[in-house]
Symmetry: C2
Subunit: 210 residues, 2 copies
Amino acid sequence: MPATSLPEDISPLTVNRLSVYLRCLRRLQELGETRTSSKALARRFHLSATQIRKDLAQFGEFGIRGVGYEVAELKEGLETLLGVHRTHPAVLVGAGNIGTALARFPGFSSGGFRIFAIFDNDLDKVGRRIRDIEVFHSRDLGRVVAEVGAEIGILAVPAAAAQENCDALVAAGIQAVLNFAPVQLEAGPAVRVKNVDLLIFLEELAFFLK
Amino acid sequence: MPATSLPEDISPLTVNRLSVYLRCLRRLQELGETRTSSKALARRFHLSATQIRKDLAQFGEFGIRGVGYEVAELKEGLETLLGVHRTHPAVLVGAGNIGTALARFPGFSSGGFRIFAIFDNDLDKVGRRIRDIEVFHSRDLGRVVAEVGAEIGILAVPAAAAQENCDALVAAGIQAVLNFAPVQLEAGPAVRVKNVDLLIFLEELAFFLK
DNA sequence: GATTGTGAATAGATTCACAGCT
DNA sequence: AGCTGTGAATCTATTCACAATC
């Protein structure tokens, strides 16, 4: 029986691993497996069995001692924990290369997120649609964010425009920002910001090249 | 005087922060600042002054006690440490949404990386060019990777095709893989893999929404 | 007999506090 | 006087080892 209580201090590292576990369970379900164990998951997906158990233990008891975990049950438990059992409304700011790719990315819609609007200040793009999502002018950001009740803002604008667009998102009441621009954004403490800097990923790889 | 010695056990966390510091220094240089200090950096970019010093200390002495750091000198030191003082040859596998956006992304070329070839198995795409980079058929991956001497492979293919393409990259002698597919890849211990899963980023944000 | 869940032990990362330079 | 570089102290994360359960 999943308890799904929500303790206060959970590390992002743990949360990221929960996402990984969720992927693994979805994969097992595709393969028709109905039951698993921390050891089986660890072996197959190169994880740590102890860590899986410790991570889950923070949220309740998901397994049966001596037996293991019910795949469907644990999967649903993780979906609930991560909050992807419902769909989160999001908006995308920036309809350039990366923004367009994100708008077309099918994974979001099937994974608990939906982009309801795109913003750009290029008048050639305003009014067009990317995958059925309308592109609005940036000046309408506040209004549209409120209308669609967006919780998450995805920032895919040039570095120089990132802070002002972040400010606009925050002013419009957004709660979390996924930022693809290579700048350290300044948002209030109430807004969670996650930075995704493609160059930093490559630089990490470059560092470890011998 | 930068020592730029290379100790053996450096954490990826440290390396990512070095990348952040490098961005900060570039920004200061744009603004015409010629000298800075750990405290000044920390205040301006919301970092930890002690941590900046500790991170740098692992690689030598970059500053002057009582004075601070020379912006240009520290910037170059970090570029050398991260290995971006030279350009790393890379290839991109997958010319779909994300692959195309990556190929067009100007940041790579200006940041120490260059994509020399794109691979796809869609014959409609083979032979075309994206931003002057030729799209080859995936069957030519081994030959072309060897020809251009690619060190880094960027994987932007569907999940189901990720492992086989990773295998092909590894067989061709690639040393590091940046993987955008939502799968835990199996590469040898000699190959460094960095996973970038957009859904996991959003799930982290979703978790922390109240 | 097998596996979970967990306190204790270990390893790793960050912060503190100050000696050592300029 | 002010800042770097660093050992010591603290905090965080992971792993070990085993009691509890099926």
